[in-house]
């Protein structure tokens, strides 16, 4: 009677979940009906069971379950019915309705209510009806799932009944699957079992696969059908896994894109190796943190908009820091990329330590606004809102940047200075100003990346360190000076990384990817989409 116990537990859980006590009748009423169980012969007991089931009370399954186990006893003195637990040689009695302790009772003073197979069937169908046919759909679903897991042939009649009246398609499907599992466990004819396997295979879930794996080694038609069904489910699940990994990959790719896109401007367009780029991302994240702190203390109602407010703040903070660095350090080092690299590394150390002094070395908590928390699923793929927004945000930033470069005066001047500095200066473009603004733009975009990353990563002074090598890899892989290359590079590396992970593990996957990029650069030293040129030394 394993499944009865399960169903009783389901009912008890559901009862615990519903403080409103919707499915209950008065204690005294129920007590009277329970007392009827101890009234006389099998016929009376059967009537009493039907009577109890008709109440629909959620305490009934537990009582009936105990009855089936032979743990329901009548006190000879007054004919009252109790749960009886063995306590040494005597019994300890509990009121079945209120759960109140009724004290110990010597063996001679109580009598067990006798149960035969007819009564057991009556109990099974009553409990099944109470849970599988409960008015609460959640209880029905839980009951069906419990039967499916227990795969007990005894549940078949109750299931048949329930399926006949079930109207919610989902729950009906779960019940049909539960019937199939019960059928497989029973001694039904082989043709029924094969049909049952087909019904389980239709579920296509991991649970179904786990259940089928118990039958794949069986002989005959059942084994064949189970093996075939298991293989079908496996290939289906593998497709969903691929889909999930692809999604993770796109998500990682969008993070890489955000981190690298600013670098694509400063390194790709200007040719400046900015090792402090990661620190610009970090500044953006800390700007987000500061904005949220101010909002938390002063305008708590605006919290849901905190990220939108943080965007311009982070952009301006990082852009100003970038312009400051460009004017004070980098402009003296144009044409000497290796020196630029070292100097900006120094700047990155100073920025890290400055943030550590200001905000402390510990991680800072940046909250998720309500519209970014939670997740939903598409098929078997879990999609979190945070990741989805970050992907959209990364694409939006990317397109905005393309628009700035291709459609604005500043973009035109930037491209002019990049292509031919002397000629640009000759036609009247103020190249130092354009340099500063370009660098500011690249840094500002890194700041925007910081806002997004604050949602998924630890905001600490070391935040930027983790992204700098990856960002350079993306830019170099995609092809320096080509924004579309950066997009393709970021998404390719993100997806490749996540696709490798299930086979190689996270760390080894990353190592393989790094080595692959190193080898790739040997083959195409200028990246995937190299700018064509005639210079010997670009």
């Amino acid at each position: 009677m394993r499944f009865l116990r399960l169903l009783a537990i389901v009912a008890a859980l559901a009862a615990g979940l519903q403080p409103a006590l919707a499915g209950r009748i008065a204690d005294a009423d129920l007590s009277a009906r329970v007392a009827a169980l101890g009234a006389g012969g099998f016929d009376e007991v059967e009537t009493a069971i039907t009577d109890l089931a008709a109440t629909g009370d959620d305490r009934v399954p537990a009582i009936l379950d105990r009855l089936g186990e032979g743990e329901l006893m009548v006190r000879k003195a007054d004919g009252a019915v109790f749960f009886a637990d063995k306590a040494g040689k005597d019994y300890r009695l509990t009121d079945p309705v209120t759960g109140a302790d009724a004290g110990p009772a010597p063996k001679a003073t109580v009598e067990k209510i006798k149960v035969n197979n007819r009564i057991r069937r009556a109990i099974a169908s009553a409990v099944g009806a109470l849970t599988l046919m409960s008015p609460d759909p959640a209880v029905r679903r839980a009951a069906a799932e419990a039967v499916m897991k227990s795969a007990d042939a005894a549940a078949l009649p109750a299931l048949e009944q329930a399926i006949a009246v079930e109207t919610v398609p989902d729950i009906r499907a779960a019940m049909v699957a539960a019937r199939a599992t019960a059928l497989l466990a029973s001694d039904a004819p082989e043709s029924d079992k094969v049909a049952a396997i087909a019904a389980i295979a239709d579920l296509g879930s991991r649970d179904a696969l786990g259940f089928l794996s118990g039958y794949t080694s069986a002989d005959g038609a059942v084994g064949d059908a189970a093996r075939k069904a298991a293989a079908a489910i496996e290939s289906r699940l593998m497709l969903w896994d691929m889909g999930q990994n692809l999604w993770y990959g796109l998500s990682l790719g969008s993070v890489l894109l955000l981190a690298a896109i600013g670098l694509a401007i400063t390194f790709g367009v200007m040719g400046v190796i900015n090792m402090a780029h990661g620190e610009m991302v970090m500044l953006g994240a800390y700007a987000t943190f500061t904005v949220q702190e101010v909002i938390r203390t002063s305008w708590p109602g605006l919290f849901d908009y905190s990220l939108l407010i943080a965007l311009p703040v982070a952009f301006l903070t990082a852009a100003l820091a970038g312009i400051l660095i460009e004017r004070s350090v980098i402009r003296w080092l144009y044409g000497r990329p290796l020196e630029t690299l070292l100097a900006t590394w120094g700047v990155s150390l100073i920025l890290q330590q400055a943030v550590r002094s200001l905000y402390g070395a510990n991680n800072r908590e940046v909250g998720n606004p309500s519209w970014m928390s939670g997740s939903f699923s598409v098929g078997d793929i879990q999609v979190t809102w945070t990741r989805l927004w970050i992907i959209l945000f990364a694409l939006a930033v990317f397109l905005a940047l393309i628009a700035v470069l291709k459609r604005t005066r500043l973009g035109l001047e930037m491209r002019a200075v990049t292509q031919n500095r002397q000629m640009a200066a000759a036609v009247g473009i103020r190249t130092p100003l354009v340099d500063a603004l370009t660098f500011g733009l690249g840094s500002g975009i890194a700041g925007l990346a910081g806002v997004a990353l604050s949602q998924i990563d630890n905001v600490s002074p070391n935040l930027g360190r983790g992204y700098i090598i990856d960002s350079f890899m993306v830019v170099v892989f995609g092809g320096v000076g080509n924004l579309w290359g950066t997009l393709v590079g970021a998404l390719t590396l993100g997806v490749a990384n996540k696709m490798l992970e299930p086979y190689a593990g996270a760390v080894l996957g990353k190592i393989i990817l790094l080595l692959a990029i190193i080898l790739f650069i040997q083959k195409r030293p200028r990246g995937l989409f190299a700018l064509k040129g005639r210079a010997v030394e670009a």
């Binding site: 990329p337 100097a343 700047v347 090598i469 010997v536």
Partner: protein, 381 residues
Amino acid sequence: MITSFLIDSLDRRGRIVVGLLVALALLVPAGNLLVPEGSAFHVSTYQLTLFGKYLTYALLALSVDLVWGYCGILSLGHGAFFALGGYAMGMYLMRQIGARGVYADPVLPDFMVFLNWKELPWFWHGFDMAWYALLMVILVPGLLALLFGWLSFRSRVTGVYLSIITQALTYALLLAFFRNDMGFGGNNGLTDFKDIVGFPIQAPGTRAALFAASALMLALGFVVASAVVRSKLGKVLVAIRDAESRTRFIGYRVEHYKLFVWTLSAVMAGVAGALYVPQVGIINPSEFDPAASIEAVIWVAVGGRGTLVGPLIGAVAVNFGKTWFTGALPEVWLYALGALFVVVTLFLPRGIVGLWDRVVSRRTKPAKEMDGSGRRAGEAA
């Protein structure tokens, strides 16, 4: 004959440096072992070990300078070669522990017993013999550099691209050595050493000997580097640094020259790592950190790249500063290091040695202009 050739290759300044190093190798251990405590000339064991560590850093800096200062290859991954040499030495020292480990396994190092490994991985065989370990100290970094350099130089990956992929290389190795399954002790690395070639590693005599070995090895490295840069090959290297394409057009096989000096430099870094490990008593994956490699570059920049004395001065000076700052004012150290990077690249492109030369030449030959060989006009934008 080779010795006399090597000695002849030194200029006046080089002879002074080598003489000083040999004197250090003799006097500092003597000051530690023979001079009684309390005397003004006594060197404590702590100072001895610390300075021994600086000397191995100086050798690493020299190896970076050889490729960066003389051939224009800015390696941001020389720490990888240093650490590989260190790991080779660490593996030897681990095998020397024998049954004295916590788990008292006669063959397997403690961390392998801890991971429930039954057999020594194949790449750990042979490390119980000192000669084999020493061979590996040279071969492992050398072969990796040879392979990496052969691929990179052949396909003409230059300038910042090369810098970035050297950084990626050391980063990949960092991640790899963090993994427990690699069989190099994972996060904790290799430590708890007992003996080196039969002598207890903590004994004052062993420490003094390791110090002397570091000083002499640095002197040897200096002499070799000096021989390289003063030979015709060295002139070609400088030509490659200043105008790679022109050198190629003249008819030199640029990649062969680069590969030679790159591999030599990696071997020097590996030897430095091997001397470093027994003195500090531990080697762990943090030596592969890209930040550590960049720090080695700044030692060279501070001392003066393109000079052989510079890296020695830079490595010792910066690390002395680091020891002092992290002890006295830990908050300030990163500011100081960061500022050092900026100030040196902006205002002291030829480092301390360049500054010294300028002061001296102004005093003695006020008319002669500096040749500015630290600059490379127009190259590799």
